[in-house]
Amino acid sequence: MTELERLQASCLFEVARCGDLKKLDILKNAILGKNGKIAEYVKELKNLNSEAKRKFGSEINSFKSKITEELNSKKQELKTKELEGKLLSEFVDVSLPPRPDHPGRIHPLTKVEEEISNILSSYGFSFADGPDIENEYFNFTAMNMPDHHPARAMHDTFYIQQLADNNGRKLLRTHTSPVQIRTMLSNKPPLRFFSIGRVYRSDYDATHTPMFSQIEGIIVEKNIGFSHLKWILSDFLRRFFEAKNLKIRFRSSFFPFTEPSAEVDINYEIQDGKIVFGIGEKWLEVCGCGVIHPNVLNYGDVDVTKYQGIAFGFGLERLTSLKYGIPDLRGYFEPDERWISTFGFPFSTK
């Protein structure tokens, strides 16, 4: 073994046993530095003849590259170790809670309003709107409820302290039906529209609030009749309650603004204290509907010799309560925190 070979072995041994980046640096300097071990041999080169110079030079170079390679790989190894050690010292208890997030919730009426709008839009209904403060003409007269109609009595309807005009006294609409007349008057048939809004009746107990919400759907076309009403409502209710096998029962009823008139029931059963739709033999009323009375179409300036209409109406709170199991009507308008967190929807639900 030459002297150089011995040196190489001892250097490699030193590198291999080095456990510290700083020491490795010093070692590197001692071997490869200006005054390092290799430099000493390089100095010797000039005393050799060309043949020996070439041979010895090549030995030095191979020694150099070998040791450089080892140094680099040791450096890499030590760096990795150092990082691992550093990371281990950065321990955090990841089981701790994140920063509190406090998103609010969407009112169930908004959610259901959107669900209903989506279904009705899919049949080609567009949205129509009307004011909450109405007059007797649009709320009653034009809906075929003449002067003496019991619904006009003070105990059902909220009247506004304001002078009556040609359209009678001002009042808070008792149903969304005035929107029918307003829309018929401002648009030419054929018409398909729906409205959703707040309505008011002077009732306040466990099952009534003085304000509640209605949905109203109207079609005025040339060939539209009771059988079509049955189809739309059956399809609508099955989609809304997400129950393909929902049974729908139409039974005769009376409304001044439709002729014939019907009320619509759906079947349900109580299972484990929860209401399940589409099974069982019990019936629950959900909707009023009918073929629009010709008097109403006349008030809406629709040519009754050419057009017919169908109409249906729902209570929004009732549909919402049934679908989402909300027991208390007052909670809709006077909620506490638990009501909001139980029955409200996350803002991202569609």
């Binding site: 701790l96 809670p97 920063r99 509190p100 406090h102 998103p103 609010g104 919730r105 969407i106 009112h107 009426l109 908004t110 309003e113 709008s117 839009s121 899919s122 049949y123 080609g124 209904f125 567009s126 949205f127 004011p131 909450d132 403060i133 009595a153 909220f158 009247y159 506004i160 808070l172 398909r192 707040r198 009732d203 306040y204 609030t209 304000m211 009749g225 009771f226 059988s227 079509h228 189809w231 059956s234 399809d235 139409f250 039974r251 005769s252 009823s253 009376f254 002729e259 014939p260 008139s261 010709p294 017919q308 308008f333 006077e334 909620p335 506490d336 925190e337 909001i340 803002f347 991202s348």
Partner: protein, 791 residues
Amino acid sequence: MRFSFDWLKRYLSTDLDVKMISDKLTSIGLEVEHIEDPAVIFKNFKLVRVKDAQKHPQADKLKVCIVEDADGNESHIVCGAKNVCEGLKTILAMPGAKILSSGEILKKSKIRGIVSEGMMCSHEELGLSSDRDGIIEVEPDIGLSTPVDEVLGYGKGIFEISVTPNRGDCLSIKGIARDLAATGVGKFLMPEEVICPVSFKFPINITYENSESCRQYAPIMAFRVIRGVRNGKSPRWLKLKLQSAGLNSISTLVDLSNFWMMDSGRPTHIYDLKKIKGNISIRFARNKEVFEDIKGNEHKLLTDMLISADEESPLCLLGVMGGKKIACNDDTTDILIESGLFDQIFISKTGTILNLNSDSRIRFERNIDKNSCISGLEGITQLILENCGGEASETFVIGKQLEINKKITLRKSKLNNVSGCVIDWNVAKLILKKLGLEEIRSNELEATFLTPSWRSDLNIEEDLIEEVLRIKGYDTIRPQNIDIIPTDSDKILERKNQVNGMKRLLASRGLSEVVTYSFMKENYAESFKEDRSLIHLINPISTDLSVMRSSLIPALLQNAKRLLDYGTASIGLCEAGNVFYDACEQELHIAGVRYGNIRERSWLEKTRSADVFDVKGDAFAVLSLCGVDERSITIIDEAPSYYHPTKSGTILRGRNKLGHFGELHPKVSKLLGFLEKVVCFEIFPRELRKLNTQKPYSSGKVFPKIHRDFAFLFASKASVGNTMKAIYEIDPLITKVAIFDCFESSITQKSVGISITLEAFDRTLTEDEAQVVSNKIIKYMESLGGELRRK
């Protein structure tokens, strides 16, 4: 309307059971609210005889009784009824029995130290009528083994149905049976027409006082006198019938009149003839004339109310209620029967004004058979003669029978069109005939009918179509799908969806959506109305809900207060809804309130209470969703008076107010019960309608941005926020301006740190270019009174 299956069978011959009849009733619009099944109701009841009744040793008003049933089983019962006595037959509720009036299940109990093994029941406790005066007295001749439901006249079951206001004819057993028969569930048993034997001339003089105007409201009235009747307790069959209908038994004459009304739908009134002084006139009441009704209540009448009166005083409020003066009692021997026809609106008005309700009023209001004055009088006369004896006078009629039958033509094409399907023409005509319509002309295309006197609700072709479909059954009409027409762009729905988007955005920021009443307490609304005038309700449901809201804030605050009272530490609420003011103006507002901690306390960072800049952020988020560029907005430090005078602002775009935000005035928040600051905002989306939400986009390469930070000193009251908008105008290279720091550097000055981003869309900016813009900014800020802070 309540009636037994047995009673229905008086007019309907049917093989169907209670359940099937019930389903049919519901289907044709006579909705069955519930059926009472006697086997279930009277499971733990039995007939007993009181064997012994002694005074309770500890209570004067109670008796300790021993009762015995058909098998001789004895029970000890403590009873408080006055009429309990030895030998009385009555109905005993045993432990386990459900008391109908209260819904409670009876238990064995100790009453004042003595065990009671059941309860003897009153009519009221069995849900039979409102009679709670003593326990039921069963006729002595009834055997103790008779089932209780039979004793009480339940028959096979009792229906409770709701009758829609157009169907006055179905406020009678006869009418209900006729409707049912038309559906084919049985045969209608048409009662035979009766003519009673006449024994003497009508003895009194009855006239309209003012014939023309009285006849407008009482076009025809028929009368008859019967002499020599015996009044008193009603026979058993009659009591049972009335019991099944939920009516108290009073006396035979009154009971017969009630029975006849329920049975045929014809109200009649029976006067005690001997109590009438002189002749009778049918007239309008004198102003404030006093009328004492049958229950002894006095009413001051108005001049548009129609009465019958003798020469002294009013006898009857026609069609609504009889008077106490001519009421029949056990001594009554001679009677006058009145059977009139009264205008429905007129009766409704009288009843409403006086707040008087009666079975008679309900029937006249909803149209009774207009041809029943005379036939109905015959019917009640026959019943009285059969049950009370006596001799009848001839019938006396004033006024005239109205022409009441209407001709309506039904076209086959219209029938099919309204139905939306093909209806068998012959079936349709048959249904109408079964309902009592008379076919006067008919061919393959149309048929003309004459409506019956009891169906004044039938007026137009559509009414006949409804009758056909209703009786045929809505379930027989097959659903027919409609063509789906794609909608044009629905601007109103888009708008609604946009508002729902705002609610979702606010919810994502921590504000829960609430829906509050559109009306509120007046003094509350006053604090929030500003220069608007409030809209008052004439008849609010309570003073807490008496004026229309002109702002969403107060109700949001009320809700926040409720949450606070239940201990919620971090409150955020929002609402989108209409406000109302002035001449019934209606406007959509969006508002939110925050109170308390902005978020829960956490180990990660300190929490803080919600402040003006949280709600300003909420407001800006909503505006930005509407496409409002912050640069187009100006904030002025003015706001309605319910806001804090300085910690609040109004958002302006040009001259339009887009909203307010700020801290609530401490006076207001204290008034509402908040101890710490409340912050809120309001946005008026009406002003945002004409917005173009599209922002310009320049395509092309992206070049590096240059950032520059500045610090300026300003007077501490300067509105620095608004100057940000102006900075953009200095040079087109400025693409972003942000304030990253703001603090009071001395009593009179604040230091404002502004960060500017420069960017060109066609080249990389040079340092020199950036310096030029920086200099412009410094110059501009100096022109506003700012002073560059140099390090």
